[in-house]
Each structure stands twice: as structure tokens, then as C-alpha cells.
């Protein structure tokens, strides 16, 4: 026990030494961006617009690593201790599992006696801090549905079950030291089987309320894991949770990234507004239950009108494409929304273009540019 205690003290001492010897940070206003599962950073076009006087800070941690990962905690805690204390003020923008990491960081800093006392507000974008049922359910041959939907295992899936986030990690739920503004989506994420069937994330959410990956009960900061159709139904929330707006947004989980950029920018005093979309609305293909039907023996085709995972852009980073609108032949397609793309050492280059009849995806990577 003493040795374990010693290692914890050593880590804390290391953080202190790093902070003490680091170049002094001028007093200022900072925005910290905490990315989610499967991401390795926050792309430049997802940064909030502002009126000047703010510095952006992104992270490079592996978003799929365990919530308790010591390296990730050290990176996040160090940044918060630097930019959210002393003469600095900060806004925290977190997306998906990044919001769980933010809450854990608030708790860790409070434990260390160096609370993030200068956080002004938190932009909680599709937060999975309350857990997601997709991390509970598994298919007939043992694949977690969250991995099936997104096409990737992630170690953090072990931590984002509702029973874990509200049980073992329940102590972090009230750790937010400033108003948090919650954003939730009501779109869906589906993968297609054999053309005729689809598997959708919201089927497992209480009441079907979710953004295809994260249920509304988590995204809106509710203190229970039940069915909630909006962020303002009067049910109790964890402390400091406020609705950015009551109605959920017509976006799925990846589309919420653009919504978060918009709403965060509005809170910073700018008026950028993307167009809403839900590519799966009106899709009448029957759902498949992969716990009972043998989906695992069938190949899955991520719909190009839904989430598209573009892999291997660089060093195993994952690009998640936002939806394109379902196009109306008479009125055409509206603009495809912003993307969540991270491409290490390379300008973000995943793209979507709409013409009268379809939305398509155009990708550039080391192999060149092509339609997919």
C-alpha cells in the first residue's frame, strides 16, 4: 500500500515539477478541447469562433484508451491546472467520452488540492459521462454493439457502461465546477446488412432516445439512466448541468460535433449556424437484432448516407464523417456539415459534396484523392 501511495505521490510530484519548470503562461483566456472515443485530437475547423483574445488548446491523447489511463489523465490534468487556474480563465469544450475525461480531471484536481477554479463554463457536446447502453449490449458472437456500430473496438468501451459511469465512477458526476451546457442529438447511426436490414444504435437506448451512440439521459446530464426525450423534462440532473437548449438536435453522434462547434461559437459571440440533418429519418428498412440474428456472419456495409469510418489515414487515426442530408430530388441537397476528421501530420482532407440527387464523399489521403 505504501508503495502504491508512493507511486501516486511521485506522479503528483512529476506534474508539479513539469508545471514549475515549464515556460510561464501569460494570463489569458483559454479554450480546452477534449476529444472523444476513436479520436486523437480536435481538428482546426472544429475550434470555436470567437471575438478575439482566446487561445485554443487541443490534446493528443488516444481517445480510445481507458478512462483511468494514467498518461491521459496526466496530460489533461496538467493542462487544466495550467490554463484553468491562477491568472488564467478557461472554457472547456468536451465531446462524447471527452466529457467523462473532463469530469474525471475536475475530480482529480480537486483531490490534489488544485481545483480548476477558473473554469467559466463547459460545453458538453453529446457527453457519454452518464454511460451508453451500446457498451452493454453484445451481439450473438460477443461483439459490443458500440464496436459494431463504429467498426472499432475501443478499450474505453469497458468504462462507459451506464452502471460503471454512474456506479464506480459515480463520484465524478458532480465534479463540474462551473455551469455545463449540455447538447444532445436525436439522430441515429445505423449499419446496413445485406441491403435489406439495418442495425441502429437508438434501438438500445431507453425510449429510443439517443443520437445513435449516446442516450439523451447521458448527453443532458440527467441523474438517472431512464428515458428522456429532451434536456428539459424536469427530471433531476447532476449538479451544474444546464440545457444549452431543451430540444434535442436532429443530428446523430458525429453530426453533434458540428452542432457543438456552432453552439460553442455562438456562446463566444459569433453567429455560425450549420444546417440540420438526419440521414436515417424515413429509412424503412427493418431493424436487425444482432443478439438474436447472426449478424456476425454477415458483412456490414456502413451506409454512405450514415456514418462512414475512413481508416488508415495515418497512424491508425480514425476519421468519422458527418452525415450528408438525404437529398430531395426537387430541391436538391443542402450543405453537408462539418466533419470530425483527424489526420496526423496532414491537412484534414475528408470531404462531402452534394449535388441534386446524392451526397457523396471525397477523400484525400496519402494514396491520393478519390470518391468513395
Amino acid at each position: 500500500m505504501t508503495n502504491r501511495c508512493g507511486s501516486l505521490l511521485t506522479s503528483a510530484l512529476a506534474v508539479l515539477i513539469i508545471l514549475a519548470t515549464a515556460a510561464p503562461v501569460e494570463a489569458g483566456n483559454h479554450i480546452l478541447y477534449m476529444h472523444g472515443r476513436s479520436h486523437s485530437g480536435t481538428p482546426s475547423y472544429a475550434l470555436f469562433d470567437h471575438l478575439g483574445g482566446w487561445e485554443h488548446h487541443t490534446f493528443t491523447y488516444n481517445g480510445s484508451s481507458r478512462l483511468g489511463d494514467s498518461g491521459v489523465r496526466s496530460q489533461v490534468n496538467g493542462a487544466m491546472a495550467t490554463y484553468c487556474r491562477g491568472t488564467n480563465s478557461c472554457v472547456v469544450a468536451c465531446y462524447s467520452a471527452g466529457c467523462a475525461r473532463a469530469k474525471l480531471a475536475f475530480s482529480d484536481l480537486a483531490a490534489a488540492g488544485t481545483p480548476a477554479s477558473n473554469v467559466l463554463w463547459v460545453e458538453n457536446i453529446a457527453s457519454v459521462a452518464g454511460g451508453t447502453e451500446l457498451a452493454n449490449y453484445t451481439s450473438k458472437w460477443y461483439l459490443k454493439l458500440i464496436a459494431r456500430i463504429f467498426g472499432y473496438y475501443a478499450a474505453i468501451d469497458n468504462d462507459i457502461k451506464p452502471s460503471v459511469m454512474r456506479g464506480s465512477y459515480g463520484y465524478i458526476q458532480n465534479s463540474t465546477p462551473a455551469p455545463a451546457y449540455d447538447l444532445a442529438g436525436n439522430g441515429n447511426i445505423c449499419v446496413r446488412f445485406l441491403i435489406f436490414f439495418k442495425l441502429c444504435g437508438n434501438e438500445r437506448m431507453p425510449g429510443g432516445n439517443g443520437d445513435g451512440a449516446v442516450p439523451v439521459h447521458s448527453a443532458c446530464g440527467y441523474a438517472d439512466a431512464g428515458s428522456h426525450g429532451s434536456c428539459c423534462d424536469g427530471s433531476a440532473k447532476y449538479t451544474n448541468h444546464n440545457a444549452d437548449q431543451c430540444a434535442t438536435h436532429p443530428r446523430n453522434h458525429t453530426g453533434m460535433y458540428a452542432i457543438g462547434t456552432w453552439r460553442g461559437s455562438v456562446r463566444m459571440g459569433t453567429t455560425y449556424q450549420p444546417t440540420p440533418d438526419d440521414a436515417w429519418a424515413g429509412d424503412t428498412r427493418p431493424n436487425v437484432d444482432c443478439a438474436l440474428d447472426d449478424c456476425d456472419a454477415q458483412s456490414t456495409e456502413p451506409s454512405l448516407a450514415g456514418v462512414l469510418n475512413v481508416t488508415n489515414l495515418a497512424v491508425g487515426n480514425v476519421a468519422l464523417m458527418d452525415n450528408c442530408n438525404t437529398c430531395n430530388p426537387s430541391t436538391g441537397c443542402s450543405q453537408c456539415a462539418a466533419f470530425s476528421v483527424y489526420h496526423s501530420g496532414y491537412a484534414p482532407t475528408a470531404w462531402a459534396s452534394c449535388d441534386k440527387n446524392s451526397c457523396s464523399n471525397y477523400v484525400c489521403d496519402k494514396a491520393g484523392c478519390r470518391w468513395i
Partner: protein, 425 residues
């Protein structure tokens, strides 16, 4: 001859007409099939055609910020127009929201519905789903319950499994024969797992139990026995007595394998344990009203001189009405016996209007230790309910929380509002 030729020609003409109709029929069928296929796959087929890149699409390392798409729409986040009044209004909103939160301090708040997880901090974990079908084509579902999230030194965890024929949401659960066995598994961060989900089962190599979750290493098998309730099985184990768990702090889960309807399926649930408590509460030593709030002093035996979360609930004497919570950190600098002071803020006590004596219940906490590149939370608990001396609720202060911390935070918002730009850049 001519007639025969005519006749023959006629017969050939009829045959030719038939072949022509056959060919037309086949072409028509093919066209229908193509239309159906196009309709089902939508734009997928269109995408297979070669198309020029969209206008403004990046080539190679071109900056995406410079590009624009068809019809003049930017395909990247456009720069918005600035509205300083919007920024001021939103900052004022955050200030008001903070002031509303800061009526009570973060370390002690009313025991309302937002604090229930502090009261039920060690809840049972129940999870389940349908996982196969019976011969009759009905769903077979299972539900596994761990009776607690955390087991301390010498404490048990009991896992109960129930299986029935029917949907998971069915209230009438028809019992069905099944087998169950368990595995305590520990997380090994050195085991690398292929990130990508294979699209076909055969590509996963070993499937089923042998290939399940390779990063979770089995360290203890569990036998499930008949339980008291009809058609349930239960297994009880003591985590602190499992050698692999006591070598060092480990990340653990219980995997309950259920076999029914010819299919074997895993139900995995993490739990926490402690080989030894990092802090032991010995007794309450005093209670008093200090600065309008209720201060309780305990004597504790600190085993790990490390920051410990401390949470506790203030109840009425009978333990029926939760009044306030305490939620803060205790940072001992040395091991051994020493005082631990917790304070329940006065305002929730006065507002609730319940007179003392009060009882303090569900005192618990956790210390985090680093091992194998992970932070492990080691919980501790004090199960005794302690009673205070008598107080009247009105003896406590009804004032809002007031502290330098709060004043400083409010001044940050006010400075932000004051220094906000008056015109858009």
C-alpha cells in the same frame, strides 16, 4: 411448294415471334431487376462512376480552409459574424447559473435528487439481454445481478443469474433450463487487441469463449449453484481472497457465461474491491455548530497518506429523511490515527426544518493508486450510523455560501463582461 414455303415461312415467323417475345421478356426482366437494384442501393452505384472532384476540393495537402464547394457553399466551417452583445448575454447567463449553483458550496449541498448516487453509492448492478432463440423460435433472455459494485476486505459479492424464455422486457418470464458458470477476469493493458471489428466471423480466428475479450485474463473460476428463487443460479466470492487480485490493485470484472437454447453467451460486469481499506473510521469524537454549519469530527486511522474522497449523508435521527450531503477531499500528510472533520453546510439543514439529533450515514470514500498505467480507485466505507447531539434547525445559518473562492469566480465573469469587445472584429 409456295404454299408449303409460305406455310413453313409462317411457322418460322411464329417461332421467330416467340423468340422475339422471349428476348423482349428477358430484357424487360433485366431492366426491372436493374431498376430494383438501383433503387435499393441508391446512390451507391452512382458513386462508382468516375467523377471529377468537387469544386474546391483539396488535392494533396491543400489547406481545407481555402476551399469551397458547389453552389458557393463552403464545405468547411464558415467564419461566423461577430456579435459582442451575444457574448455578453451568454456570459451573464453563465454568471447567473453559477450564482444559482453557489448558493450552497460544492462540498455540501441539499440531499436532493441530484445527490442520490452519493446515498446509493454501492448499488447492485443488473444487466441483461436476449441472447438466442429457443427451438420454438422465441427469444431466450438472461439477467445477471451483482449485489454490489464494491467489496471491501473480506466482503463478498454475489452474482445471481436468471434465464427465461421470452423477450427481455417480458414481465411473465417462463423458466427455462440453463447452465451458468463464472470467471473473475483482470485487465491486462499489455495485451494488444486488433482495433478493427472483422466483418465476418471466420476472420476473427477463434470464436466463442476461447476468443472472447483476450485483454481480460481469467484468474478465478466460479461455480453457480441453485438459488432460492425459482430457476435462478447464484455464485458468491470474496475478491480480497483471490490471489491475483491481492498481488496489486487490478481492474476486474466478472464474466458470467450462460448456456441455454444451445448457445453460450457472456455477461460481463466490472466491480471494485479492496485488499485492505486505505482509511478506517474509528469513531465520531465530537459535533458542534461552527460558523452556522454542523461540524463533525471523526477519529480515523489512515493507512495510505494520500488524498481521499470523503462522502457522507446527514439524516434525521431515524434515518428516514436525508437532509444534506458532504462531498470533499481529505488530504492526510501522514499515516496513523488523526482527526477527520466533515462539515454539513447550515443552510440545507435550516431549510429542511428537521431538528436534531441527526445521524450521519453512508460514510465512504476512495483513494486512487496508480498501477499498470491505470488509476485504480480503492474504496473504503464506514457502516455505522453515528448520532449527533440535539440541535434545532433554526440554530443553523440560512445564509448563502460566502467564500473568497466564490467571490473570485464571480469577479472572473464580471471582468469578462466588462472587458468584452464592444464591436465585432
Amino acid at each position: 411448294m409456295h404454299g408449303r414455303c409460305v406455310s413453313h415461312g409462317n411457322r418460322m415467323g411464329e417461332a421467330g415471334q416467340s423468340r422475339k417475345r422471349l428476348v423482349q421478356g428477358v430484357m424487360l426482366l433485366g431492366a426491372v431487376a436493374t431498376i430494383v437494384l438501383l433503387a435499393l442501393t441508391g446512390s451507391d452505384l452512382k458513386r462508382k462512376k468516375k467523377r471529377p472532384p468537387p469544386p474546391g476540393a483539396p488535392v494533396g495537402g491543400m489547406s481545407v480552409e481555402q476551399a469551397s464547394g458547389p453552389e458557393g457553399h463552403a464545405l468547411v466551417k464558415p467564419r461566423g459574424n461577430g456579435d459582442p452583445s451575444q457574448f455578453v448575454e451568454r456570459t451573464k447567463e453563465a454568471l447567473e447559473d453559477y450564482k444559482r449553483f453557489a448558493i450552497y458550496p460544492p462540498w455540501s449541498r441539499p440531499a436532493d435528487r441530484s445527490q442520490q448516487h452519493l446515498i446509493k453509492w454501492n448499488p447492485p448492478a443488473t444487466f441483461g439481454q436476449a441472447f438466442t432463440k429457443s427451438k420454438a423460435g422465441n427469444d431466450i433472455s438472461a439477467e445477471v445481478t451483482l449485489d454490489k459494485m464494491f467489496a471491501g476486505q473480506g466482503e463478498t459479492i454475489t452474482a445471481t443469474v436468471r434465464v427465461w424464455e421470452g423477450a427481455f422486457s417480458d414481465t411473465a418470464r417462463k423458466p427455462i433450463e440453463f447452465k451458468a458458470w463464472g470467471e473473475v477476469r483482470v485487465f491486462d493493458p499489455t495485451v494488444k487487441r486488433d482495433d478493427k471489428v472483422p466483418s465476418k466471423r471466420k476472420k476473427r480466428g477463434k470464436s466463442g469463449q476461447a476468443g472472447y475479450a483476450p485483454e481480460w485474463i481469467p484468474v478465478q473460476k466460479l461455480k453457480f449453484d441453485e438459488a432460492s428463487e425459482t430457476n435462478t443460479r447464484a455464485a458468491t466470492f470474496i475478491p480480497s481472497s483471490i490471489a491475483a487480485l491481492t498481488e496489486r490493485p487490478r481492474d476486474v470484472q466478472l464474466v458470467t457465461w450462460v448456456k441455454a437454447g444451445g448457445h453460450t453467451f457472456p455477461f460481463a460486469q466490472p466491480f471494485r474491491y479492496a485488499k485492505q481499506p486505505p482509511l478506517v473510521v474509528l469513531a465520531k469524537t465530537s459535533d458542534a455548530i461552527v460558523d452556522g454549519s454542523l461540524e463533525i469530527q471523526f477519529e480515523v486511522d489512515v493507512k495510505m497518506a494520500s488524498s481521499s474522497l470523503v462522502q457522507a449523508i446527514l439524516y434525521d435521527a431515524a434515518g428516514k429523511h436525508a437532509i444534506a450531503v458532504y462531498d470533499a477531499y481529505f488530504r492526510p500528510t501522514k499515516t496513523g490515527r488523526q482527526p477527520l472533520v466533515i462539515t454539513f453546510f447550515g443552510r440545507p439543514i435550516r431549510e429542511r426544518g428537521i431538528n436534531g439529533p441527526y445521524s450521519i450515514r453512508f460514510v465512504h470514500g476512495k483513494v486512487t493508486v496508480e498501477e499498470d498505467g491505470l488509476g485504480h480507485d480503492i474504496f473504503w466505507r464506514y457502516d455505522d450510523a453515528v448520532t449527533t447531539t440535539e440541535y434545532a434547525a433554526e440554530e443553523f445559518s440560512g445564509d448563502e455560501w460566502d467564500s473568497p473562492e466564490k467571490d473570485h469566480k464571480i469577479s472572473l465573469y464580471e471582468q469578462m463582461i466588462k472587458n468584452a469587445p464592444r464591436t465585432a472584429p
